[in-house]
């Protein structure tokens, strides 16, 4: 099991104060099918770097009852994801 970095499309809301809130992530699985997952809750938001490379605004989210780290890096989103396959 290892962590890797993946850039993904995200549907987000910019509220009237200018704060950005990610709502859904769009995940493409191995068969190439795209699925929309709702972000159930944002646990916290802070500036941080990622172990898999890159830095930016970190949103710790609950997605399908799992904790995931979603980063907004400059102008795009990436997520730290877990793979069981070895490189």
């Amino acid at each position: 099991m290892y962590l890797y970095k993946r850039y993904i499309p995200v549907i987000s809301l910019v509220d009237e104060s200018g704060a950005m809130i990610p709502l859904y992530i769009i995940w493409q699985d191995q068969s190439g099918q795209r699925k929309v997952h709702k972000i159930d809750k944002i646990l916290n938001k802070r500036k941080a770097f990622s172990k898999v490379g890159g830095c930016g605004e970190l949103y710790e989210c609950m997605i399908l009852r799992k904790k995931r780290k979603l980063y907004f890096e400059r102008d795009r989103w990436f997520i730290e994801c877990i793979s069981i396959l070895q490189e």
């Binding site: 500036k47 941080a48 770097f49 990622s50 490379g53 890159g54 830095c55």
Partner: protein
């Protein structure tokens, strides 16, 4: 005891390489360097990581040379836009704690936190906090020197390159730095070092022990300045963030895509460089008087020649004329306009700048009206470049070899190291 001032010098350790490593941690495990573009022949190493350093790869050498030392070296193409973004992110963290943040190049900065203690408490703890915050938020390590003047702070940050934190206080500075070689002092380069060594000055302590009067006799004004640095008398302020250094010279240079063989090649390149210089001069509303041409031949030797114009100018034709005169003098050629040597890169510089005055001081018999006409023509061309693109309006001369003149020195982002003076 409280010090008079608390100044941090923060240095992003091998800046470009570290940013690339942060973005892709796999690069940490292999020898890696950030370099220019080999195909366009700006192929030099701009930064390297520790694994590459172990192979003897040095900053500034050509990619080919580096690859010979370390064939497995992985070269990342430099992307200035990225480095600008992350280095300014680092500086905005500094600015959370002080209004006095003075940049020294992209990766270095002085921060004056003498007055921040009322808000943030103990200055030394605050310095540590800033260092940690940069790491937590951006994943970048900075090495810091904390001292009571800018010079010692800079010395401190250079002592330990791996996220170092060196404190040079008014009580311990003599033990800390007096035994260090004189070359460590800011503004002691190779030439100055040789000169000082000849006079028997090998360490910073040696210099500090001398009498200023003797130094002035021997090394002049700058010698005294260095002596003040060594004694810790430097009082220069860390500039506020909105402070802009006065521009003293402008330069543009290019390493050509192929070696320059004839005088026509040089003419073409100089016309593009002169155009950019003149346009940049007009942008900052200044005029220059001294034109310098720096040439590098295919053996990588630099030579330069300069001349003073009878008047200050911001007009392309004037600069180009002067540059061509210099080129004719310094690049020997035969009857067929072929050079006796081959040349690799040209840099054109204009110095002795001053504000453009409302009235012009052209020479007595010069044609002021004609010059003014020329100037407005060039400004119109600037406007065309701005609105429709750089390639839309060019001298016919440059069409003789499109490949050679296919560069835009004004538009391309070039970063030069900064100077103290």
């Amino acid at each position: 005891m409280r010090w008079k001032r608390y100044i941090i010098h923060a240095d992003l350790n091998h800046c470009y390489a570290q940013i690339e490593e942060m973005l892709d941690p796999r690069l940490r495990t292999i020898p890696m360097a950030v370099g220019g573009d080999e195909t366009k022949r700006h192929g030099i190493i701009l930064a390297k990581n520790d694994k590459a350093r172990a192979f003897g790869v040095r900053t500034g050498e050509s990619l080919r040379e580096a690859l010979r030392k370390c064939p497995k070296l992985y070269i990342v193409k430099a992307c200035y836009d990225k480095y600008l973004y992350y280095t300014s992110a680092v500086k905005s963290i500094y600015r959370n704690y002080s209004d006095r943040v003075e940049s020294f190049g992209l990766d270095e900065a002085w921060i004056d936190i003498s007055d921040s203690f009322r808000l943030f408490g103990d200055p030394l703890a605050l310095a540590k906090r800033i260092q940690d915050e940069v790491f937590v938020k951006l994943g970048l390590t900075v090495s810091m020197g904390v001292s009571f003047n800018k010079i010692f702070a800079k010395l401190g940050s250079d002592m330990d390159k791996e996220k170092g934190f060196v404190i040079i206080s008014p009580t311990n500075y003599k033990e800390m730095i007096y035994r260090r070689p004189i070359g460590d002092l800011l503004y002691v380069g190779e030439a100055t070092k040789r000169k000082l060594n000849l006079a028997g000055i090998f360490t910073i302590g040696d210099l500090a022990a001398l009498e200023p009067f003797d130094i002035e006799k021997r090394f002049g004004k700058n010698g005294v300045m260095l002596w003040r640095f060594a004694r810790g008398y430097d009082e220069s302020e860390v500039e506020r963030q909105d402070h802009k250094r006065d521009v003293k010279s402008l330069s543009n240079g290019i390493t050509a895509v192929r070696d320059l063989e004839t005088f026509d090649d040089v003419k073409m390149i100089l016309s593009v460089l002169a155009q950019s210089l003149a346009s940049r001069l007009r942008d900052i509303k200044k005029e220059g008087k001294v034109v310098t041409l720096m040439i590098r031949d295919s053996d990588l030797n630099w030579s330069s020649r300069q001349m003073k114009l009878p008047f200050s100018t911001d007009i392309e034709t004037d600069i180009l004329k002067a540059a061509l005169k210099l080129a004719e003098k310094s690049m020997p050629y035969d009857h067929f306009n072929h050079f006796k040597k081959r040349y690799r890169s040209l840099t054109l510089k204009i110095a002795d700048l001053k504000e453009r005055s409302a009235y012009s001081e052209y020479d007595l018999f010069g044609l002021t009206a004609a010059k003014e006409k020329e100037r407005s023509l060039e400004m119109a061309i600037d406007e065309i470049h701005r609105r429709f693109g750089f390639d839309k309006c060019q001298r016919l001369l440059t069409k003789m070899d499109k490949e050679l003149t296919d560069f835009n020195p004004k538009g391309e982002h070039v970063i030069h190291p900064e100077s103290w003076f």
